[in-house]
Symmetry: C2
Subunit: 485 residues, 2 copies
């Protein structure tokens, strides 16, 4: 399996092709120190055999923020060293911190933009990135990742909406790329050539006036020329279209670009792989073989394997899918894909992040701050004779499903649906015993069944299958013959 | 050539695969009547042999608006009949009007939304669409197109952000589709089965909470079931993210979704064909062969031919490309692609539309309200011995090109560039004799030449070629070895 193939990134032997991209956990305090909950969160990924763990963004400077890790002072090194020691003790997973610089922002909605920075401020940013990278090396990390994505400082320079007019200015591509060039040089001065330095950046900004994949190809080329050891792609997540809630800090994931960054259930799966593939192909055409990592609704093992095997990208970034189930890689390795807790992209995690509350997965057992431990033995919940009493009935313009509680420890139920005899898909996961399908279309034949899952993702046998065939007449639809071409 | 292959749409024989989608011209008055300038604009497309001409949106009701055509009363029929007569007299082009219903909007920024409509209001909309379609047939149109796209009434019902909670409500797909179903039935009652009725709708909304191509497949299926004779796809153009200029009417093309709808020079060409292809493939899988038309930066004949020949979509919607050169199809037929006025996506046309000023193309001769007539004989502008005195030099982070005026009647200059020995592309068109390239990257080898064009798009011979090889050092870029994988 391509998923389980190792990849060496500037000497760092990553045991497989799965990365957990930086996800804010809101498990640290305002002090920025590594606490018990943070340790547990990342050790959990290591136990699950994730190839490359990117620890949530940590600030390289002292600007005020909500709960956020810090690496802005040597005083943070012991805590971080404990983190890397614990992760390395758990498995062969490799771990890098995401180094972030962000600008000032106030509850009034005001925010500092790159054009407000003096040249001295910029020199300080450059130095701070280098110093933070050195601290990361000292703390035992296997490399570092520079956060050049979303609404933050580096990405705001690379952005097409960079409003500066000087040598770091937005009018030219070289102007926009100057800061990341200087930062990379500073980081290399601090950590040397033999330490992996990855960059996360945007394959497309998805804001008005922002850049598209056309620029992203050139930006990736420059990053490769600068000696980036991997390129991890994201999209959107900008302040420019963020929605300000009065009295709250602006959150970069509240606008359309934020929706693209963490797309919900109504988006197609693997929706941004095409952008990654385009960038990868461009880099290869220029002789650069730097690994390209893509993310965005990648969590079905078969889909991930197909994409990786095609060689269109080198690694899969799986964020919400690994939050839901940190044992994703381990279960793939053991042939237990049926036991994976499948992210349903409900985005409760995203809402918690926005509210500065500890980020957990809705599918975890109630009250848990971490995913349950891997369980060797399976006693998946089930119904007697697999008869769940599943019913489906029309409820206005929707289909209403109801069923009985399954026996055993049920954490949630996966809803499976097939349309017109096509492939079965899991279309939602719920904790109650009823579910409404508002996405049905009269004239289509649906088949549903459900599976009860325990907290470890063990799915019991499927329930009986029920069919639903909403007719055109009952929905008042006047059908005509197909177009006469 | 696939481009020149006819297609029959419910008895309407469209002579080729090119459609000019509805583009507001702002050439009518507030009275909504067809005037001389409107006649000339559309006859021009017919002279240029455009397969299917969609006349700009005309209102089916009396709501106040800026300059806009109307079909809300029988009194508009004679003017429209004159328009169809003149178009049919010019060529075999077929012509349909785009029928629009829009909600109220005020300069304060307030706008009526679908949840404010009573059921009686909705019944009136349904009836008005039917009546307008009947008037269109009486006026000699070859069919009609229903405007179910962008920020307008029908699209706002189909939208995922439809805020109604009744039978026309946004909570279910069937609820969102109810109005277009009722409208189609009404239109058929008024015009019968043997009159082509197309629908324009969005392949993706590109707003927060909006729908994606996943829904668009199902929406297309329903439209096919309703008997739509063609599906013309657009994207975005919504009010939800529009930017309100105080004192101005909200314009649906000012936000990010509006940028996607009319993407500028920084977007890839043919960027939305993939969405159209996905929808087409889905419809075919369901047994529906309704023609699917896609739009979005389609204007290079080779690209259009390749896409049509692949069968991924059935027709190409070319808006800005045909505004720039209404003779696009004729020139393709005559093998004169070198004489096509190539849209450079500067979006001056879009700005004029937003300002309610007559929409013209920047590349037309200054002061012209219409594209120049097709000219049989060619005396393209040129330089003596094709030596333009072209120079290129570094100007801060850009490359500055300068050249001499060409002899003859120069309308504009096309800038051609090749990167690292790759394919030559026209990257801009200007009316002056200097141009700055802010999109260069140190370490890449560029070759430039220019061609002087007359007002008919006749491009003279290429100038001399100049090379530009910006070095890393002069741009202060510290290059490292490629990543050591």
């Amino acid at each position: 399996m391509k998923i389980l193939e190792p990849i060496v990134i500037n000497g760092m032997k990553v045991p497989n092709r799965v990365m957990v991209p930086a996800m804010v956990t809101r498990l640290s305090g305002e002090d920025g120190l590594v606490g018990q909950a943070i340790l547990e969160r990342y050790v959990r990924y290591a136990q699950g055999e994730v190839g490359l763990i990117v620890v949530e963004a940590m600030a390289i400077h002292g600007n005020k923020a909500g709960p956020l890790l810090r690496i802005s002072d040597d005083g943070f090194i012991p805590g971080l060293a404990e983190l890397t020691k614990r992760i390395h003790g758990a498995s062969d997973s490799k771990v890098v911190p995401q180094l972030i610089h962000f600008l000032k922002i106030s509850r009034s909605g005001w925010r500092q933009t790159v054009d407000m920075l003096s040249l001295q401020d910029i020199e300080r940013v450059i130095e701070q990135f280098g110093e933070a990278a050195a601290r990361a090396r000292e703390a035992g990390f296997d490399g570092v990742e520079l956060h050049n994505a979303h609404a933050y400082t580096l990405a705001s320079f690379v952005s097409r909406v960079n409003g500066r007019t000087d040598e770091f200015g937005g009018e030219t591509l070289e102007g926009r790329l100057r800061l990341i060039g200087r930062v990379m040089a500073s980081v290399r001065r601090h950590v040397g050539d033999d330490f992996p330095v990855g960059i996360r950046y945007l394959a497309e900004e998805f804001v008005r006036g922002g850049y598209t994949v056309e620029d992203a190809k050139l930006i990736g080329l420059r990053m490769a020329q600068l000696g980036a050891d991997y390129l991890s792609l994201s999209v959107g997540g900008k302040f420019e279209d963020a929605i300000h809630t009065p009295g709250q800090i602006l959150h970069g994931y509240t606008g359309y670009s934020g929706e693209r960054c963490m797309p919900g259930a109504n988006y197609p799966e693997a929706l941004h792989v095409g952008l990654g593939a385009e960038i990868k192909a461009f880099l290869v055409s220029k002789g650069h073989h730097v690994p390209v990592i893509s993310a965005g609704k990648l969590s079905d093992p078969a889909t991930v394997e197909r994409i990786l095997a095609s060689g269109r990208i080198d690694m899969a970034g799986i964020a919400r899918g690994l939050l839901a189930d940190p044992d994703w890689v381990k279960k793939v390795r053991l042939g237990q894909t049926d036991r994976i807790v499948k992210c349903d992209y409900c985005n409760v995690c995203k809402q918690l992040d926005g509210a500065h509350k500890p980020v957990i997965c809705f599918l975890w057992p109630k009250g848990s701050l971490q995913a349950p431990a891997y369980a060797e033995t399976v006693t998946a919940p089930a119904w007697t004779d697999n008869q769940a009493g599943l019913t489906v009935a029309r409820d206005r313009d929707a289909a209403l499903l109801t069923w009985k509680k399954a026996g055993g420890d049920v954490a949630y139920y996966d809803i499976h649906r097939a349309d017109d005899g096509g492939a079965v898909r899991v279309i939602d996961a719920v904790k109650v015993t009823r579910w409404k399908d508002g996405a049905i279309l009269a004239g289509t034949k649906y088949r549903y069944y459900i599976r009860a899952c325990d907290a470890h993702g063990h799915a019991g046998p499927p329930s009986e299958v029920v069919g639903f065939e909403p007719g055109f007449e009952e929905f008042g639809v006047e059908v005509r013959e197909p177009a006469r071409v």
